[in-house]
């Protein structure tokens, strides 16, 4: 089974499973409501408790809507429909130039539209001629031109204006359309079509397998039939466009009149006369391609096209239903080299494709922009030692650093060996360290959050206990806190650079303000009697802060951390979009520039899941650390 086939099978099974789940949950829910009819109280909050089956229904509905509107369900159940619709679209594209000359999709035939427009234009010019800027002399001089133009328009629509060659061409086109109709109706495949279908199926990627949305070569008999008609039909269309109602007399009349108008304009000094000549010239240009035929002259083609359309619709059969019901809001269009999904299927990525993209990006060898999503790499321990041990430790050791001797050899001593260790310049085993876009984003949030808590909580407690601290530090915090974090981003990123430092500092600013405020609220909320009790139990000031005020503030502090995580997470993504070369926000931003909807959705889903994960962890921590909240 091909990758697309397997994907289709899984999605198909999922779709049916979801529908069954939805139905059974609704039935269960209805039955439950019936059994609870004895409770006559409207608004009883107990009625809102529980209800896992409605949760299942909600999730199933979301997934079903997604599967349906992204055309993933259509692809699973009708894997060839898109390809067949592509062939139909080819036929439609071929026929369209002809059909647009007749009142099929338009309200009026093309000739009627032209005559209507140009008659109105002549009338307008006539009205202008009656105006004060023309003298009576002008009028009598110019009126014949109008009459002759009217005559040309009339001549085009009059019976017998069409010459024999044109009549034959019309008959020819009509005949060829009729022939193609017959081919389509009979369902005759051109010779070798079966082999071609098999070949096409083997050679081209399936629907959604590549960046090309819909495979362009027919992969089914129905598709091949339409494909075989589409090419000759395009030829017919081209020939039709060459048919013009331009007999010799017409050409001579138009050219003569045009030339006389030019001469008139050149000879005259009057602007009004020049304008008249120009307007008339434009009118002639618009009609000289001979697109107007006498009524009924094109009837053979119109009839042939109508027949063709009827047969074409009939031959589509179930395809029409699939198109309208399984592929909502849009259809498939044929371009010059490929067919594309035009509708919600285009911008709403199919869940299966999105998941496949996630799997593809998760491969550490693929990743995104040469960097894995989440993986590990071997790093020498010496690097970490070099990072953790400050270099000046070597300076503190008594003695001198070695100097080279006259033999040109540097003799290492103890001091220089210590320096080598402090700078991480030694051989060491490697250890696995996490790496990747996701890891980078998480580490930035954790680093910013950690710094914010480390500095924010003590300051917040201090501010909650001291009037001086509250008054002194409040202006500083309130000066920057109300500014949206992203407004700081350009400045911070300029100062600290686009690497981790800038983003971590930005997140620190966000977390710090929140932590200060929550710790302060917590400290202020400590019951005086508890502090009294601690006092009379012999606690010192520091012990009271550590053992009474801090634990008493824990609910507020933990809530603050929870809020901080959310805000940091949002700020981080935006900061990564602004600048940087790694992180989930970076991935999304690059994907946006390339309009890669699947990767955009992958990042959205990743961000959502990580945010949820953080929140669940915090909820768990809160549940474990402060079960006494609100019960004191």
């Amino acid at each position: 089974m091909s990758a697309a086939g397997l994907r289709g099978f899984i999605i198909g099974a999922l779709f049916i499973g979801l529908i069954l789940a939805l139905i059974s949950c609704w039935v269960y829910g209805r039955r439950l409501i019936k059994t609870e009819k004895t409770d006559a109280v409207f608004g009883n909050p107990v009625k809102a408790l529980g209800g896992w089956h409605w949760i299942v229904s909600g999730v199933a509905t979301i997934l079903l809507v997604w599967l349906y509107f992204s055309w993933d369900a259509a692809r699973a159940f009708f894997p060839h429909a898109a390809n067949e619709l592509c062939q139909v679209a080819k036929v439609n594209t071929a026929v369209h130039p002809m059909r647009s000359s007749f009142p099929f999709d338009e309200r009026l035939p093309k000739g009627t539209v032209i005559l209507d427009r140009e008659n109105a234009q002549l009338q307008r010019i006539t009205n202008v001629l009656g105006g004060p800027e023309f003298s009576d002399e002008d009028r009598s001089q110019l009126q014949p031109y109008l009459d002759r133009a009217q005559g040309i328009l009339t001549s085009m629509a009059s019976e017998g204006s069409v010459d024999d060659a044109t009549l034959q061409a019309i008959e020819g086109v009509a005949q060829r359309i009729t022939d193609l109709t017959a081919i389509l109706e009979a369902g005759e495949l051109p010779e070798g079509a079966d082999a071609a279908i098999i070949q096409a199926r083997e050679n081209q990627p399936g629907w959604g397998d590549s960046t090309q949305e819909v495979p362009v070569e027919p992969t089914s008999e129905r598709g091949a039939l339409f494909d075989s008609v589409a090419k000759p039909m395009a030829e017919v269309s081209k020939d039709f466009s060459k048919i013009r109602n331009t007999n010799e007399q017409f050409i001579v009349d138009v050219e003569t009149l045009d030339q006389e108008l030019k001469d008139l304009s050149a000879a005259s000094n009057s602007d009004a006369v020049k304008n008249f000549a120009r307007d008339m010239g434009k009118l002639l240009k618009r009609v000289d391609n001979g697109a107007v035929f006498p009524p009924g002259a094109l009837d053979p083609i119109e009839v042939a096209l109508a027949n063709f359309h009827e047969v074409q619709q009939e031959k589509q059969g179930s395809l029409k239903l699939i198109d309208s019901f399984a592929m909502p809001s849009g259809t498939i269009l044929a371009g010059n080299t490929a067919c594309s999904e035009q509708g919600s299927g285009r911008w709403l990525p199919k869940p299966s494709d999105t998941f496949a993209t996630l799997v593809r990006l998760s491969d550490p060898d693929v990743g995104y922009k040469g960097f894995p999503l989440l993986w590990y790499k071997q790093k020498p321990l010496s690097e970490m030692v070099g990072f953790l041990v400050p270099d000046f430790i070597a300076d503190l050791i008594p003695g001198e650093y070695p100097r080279h001797g006259s033999d040109g050899i540097v003799q290492a001593n103890f001091k220089s060996k210590v320096l080598a260790i402090a700078t991480g310049n030694f051989d060491s085993p490697t250890v696995p360290v996490p790496t990747g876009h996701v890891w980078d984003s998480i580490m930035r949030v954790i680093a910013g959050l950690f710094l914010g808590i480390l500095l924010g909580v003590p300051l917040g407690l201090f501010m909650g206990l001291s009037r001086f601290a509250k008054g002194f530090f409040d202006p500083m915090i309130e000066l920057y806190r109300p500014v949206p974090p992203l407004a700081w981003a350009p400045l911070i990123l300029t100062i600290f650079g686009i690497q981790d430092d800038g983003k971590i500092f930005l997140l620190f600013m966000v977390a710090f303000a929140i932590m200060v405020i929550s710790a302060r609220t917590g400290a202020t909320g400590t019951q005086l009697s508890k502090i009294h009790a601690a006092h009379s139990l012999g606690a010192t000031r520091w012990q009271i802060v550590r053992s009474v005020i801090l634990p008493n503030s824990l609910p507020e502090i933990l809530t603050g951390i929870r809020i901080s995580i959310g805000v940091c997470w949002g700020t981080l993504v935006a900061a990564e979009m602004l600048a940087g070369t790694t992180g989930i926000g970076f991935v999304e931003n690059v994907a946006r520039k390339q309009s890669d909807y699947e990767i955009i959705w992958v990042t959205i889903i990743l961000l959502g899941m990580l945010g949820l994960l953080f929140d669940l962890i915090m909820r768990f921590v809160i549940h474990k650390t402060i079960p006494w909240r609100g019960k004191g």
Partner: protein, 266 residues
């Protein structure tokens, strides 16, 4: 000897608006070691201010407070306190609450554990050591508060309406417990209460305070606490002497309240 001596205590508060409130005026008394004192009075008579002064949470604006040979200047371990709502540290277990004072002193851990066991047994909470305090009922919380205070071996125990928030039945049990502890430990205890019956039952001596400014109004010496060690408290409450004293004090406080209402309405 660690007697509590209050010598002409004055306490005035100045509100931020500049109004001066006289909470206590010229309060003098001596509480001998091992005495059981209950303090009664209408609201606003300065009972709690007096207690906070003795606990050291406030410093008097006039007069002198001494316990034993040292002047009271700030809170101290030698004056244990039991609060109305227990004021337990709800993030700690029962045992951790009880040994809080010893832990702050960094006392020997084994010794501490032994003492905690001992005190939990005295207050009737053996086996509850690892229970989080927020899971306890109000009466049990007050038992923990008692143990937490007593484990520090204070010279003087101050109780600020300790049984005020309890239901009647629990209250009676706790009253017996307080009497039992008083007898077994021989501690000096000062109880503030708004219940006349409780004041009579838990007071070897009883101060009735009067408001505006807060002052000692009348002092009684009562036998009921002594009786309570051996007799059923309900019988004591029906004793004619008990009922007579109760009615006397009730009407006294009633009149004080009336007076306040009168002055405020005029």
């Amino acid at each position: 000897m660690s007697d509590l001596i209050a010598d002409a205590i004055d306490m005035t508060f100045t509100t931020p608006n500049g109004d001066v409130v006289r909470a206590l005026k010229n309060v003098s008394f001596t509480l001998k070691e091992g005495e059981l004192l209950s303090v009664l009075g209408p609201s606003g008579c300065g009972k709690t201010t007096l207690l906070n002064l003795i606990a050291g949470f406030l410093r008097p604006t006039g007069g002198e407070l001494t316990l034993g040979n040292s002047e009271i200047d700030g809170p101290g371990v030698e004056r244990g306190m039991v609060f109305q709502q227990g004021a337990l540290f709800e993030w700690l277990t029962v045992a951790e609450n009880v040994d809080f004072g010893l832990r702050m002193k960094k006392a020997d851990k084994k010794e501490t554990a032994r003492k905690v066991e001992e005190w939990l047994e005295i207050v009737g909470l053996q086996g509850f050591g690892d229970t989080p305090t927020y899971q306890l009922s109000g009466g049990m919380q007050q038992r923990v508060a008692l143990a937490r205070c007593l484990i520090n071996d204070p010279d003087l125990i101050l109780m600020d309406e300790p049984l005020g928030a309890l239901d009647a039945l629990t209250r009676e049990k706790m009253q017996s417990l307080v009497l039992k502890i008083w007898k077994e430990t021989g501690k000096t205890i000062m109880i503030i209460t708004h219940s006349v019956e409780e004041a009579l039952l838990l007071g070897e001596r009883l101060f009735v305070m009067a408001p505006r400014p807060g002052r000692l109004h009348k002092e009684y010496s009562l036998p009921f606490a002594e009786w309570g060690l051996t007799q059923d408290p309900r019988e004591i409450k029906n004793h004619p002497e008990f009922t007579q004293t109760r009615e006397e004090i009730l009407s006294m406080i009633w009149n004080m309240e009336e007076e306040i209402m009168g002055t405020t309405s005029s």
